[in-house]
Subunit: 171 residues, 2 copies
Amino acid sequence: MVRVNGVNALSLRALARAVDMEPQSLYTYFASKNAVYDQLFADGNRELLARFERLDVSDEPRPALRAIAHLFVSFAAEDQARYELLFLRTIPEFEPSPESYAIAVEVFSKGRAILASVGLRRDEDFDLWTALVSGLSSQQLANDPGGDRYIKLIDNSVAMFSEHVFGGRDS
Amino acid sequence: MVRVNGVNALSLRALARAVDMEPQSLYTYFASKNAVYDQLFADGNRELLARFERLDVSDEPRPALRAIAHLFVSFAAEDQARYELLFLRTIPEFEPSPESYAIAVEVFSKGRAILASVGLRRDEDFDLWTALVSGLSSQQLANDPGGDRYIKLIDNSVAMFSEHVFGGRDS
DNA sequence: GCGATACTCCTGACACTGTTCGGAAAACTG
DNA sequence: CAGTTTTCCGAACAGTGTCAGGAGTATCGC
């Protein structure tokens, strides 16, 4: 339902109708509507974490960065609702529970560790990297959903970033 | 009210109370709640446009890009609610009216024109630029609101971007 | 197999939201 | 002063998330 109608359009009454229940009965399984979001938030982060772990990172920095960037932007582009839930504050009243947030932190750490393994260790470089990749993702979703206008820029972006932090122009 | 409590927390009843009115009376001035958002959306874009026009752009590409980036990120950082309203879809049910959207397009064109004036004319370069600057803005707001963790990266980012599109390392 | 316990679900209701209708004042205009 | 327009409100509607209390049902210990 969230994927089809958007994160914010989720209604507990509609959800209950879909599973042939009265709205109040959902409270047996979820403490609140935010708990539903929290579940989706946790699931999304687990999925992203799994993909990061499945990724076998090249020793070469540039191919590695390309792979990571593609992984992330694809993850964002394939499910707008999920991306909004995980990374934008589309539901302002929602804040993840400590348990779910812990998974998000794990994702963050994993990404950070991968980048460190290819030689990217400075805080500012990492921040610049996340800004760049998240910028590409959100612009892709905002200005060309379903298309590839910004996805096509990924390799170019990685080249730019690599030139800057590693120097040289090869690969 | 929006600035204090967030875009989404705006309630017409609370707004009415604040101006000593009954909620229904607001409908004399605004056709709907979205019309209120639309007003804020238009105002924000007008403000941003004004700042762009006030900016006297250097002939040198790099200082010009630095100025633009600082302008935009500052604009974002100084009012989170406004930024969300203009650039993120925090209010999913809100869509700007054609008149207000026209102002947003004007802002976009102005930015595009400025970049063209310093030699940046390729579509992909412009898209990469917007991705980079919007990425810095949203990361700043999301991860360090009120701080300057990503603002400090602007000059560095512009250097990286300039190296890439213009080549060379000076300035 | 039976009694106690835990779980599942629903009825009813509360407080809140944005919004529409119809009418009453108030302000402005000729 | 008469007529028209603007401003405002009372009542009400459909929708939301959520809580309290009570049935019915499954599960567990003996």
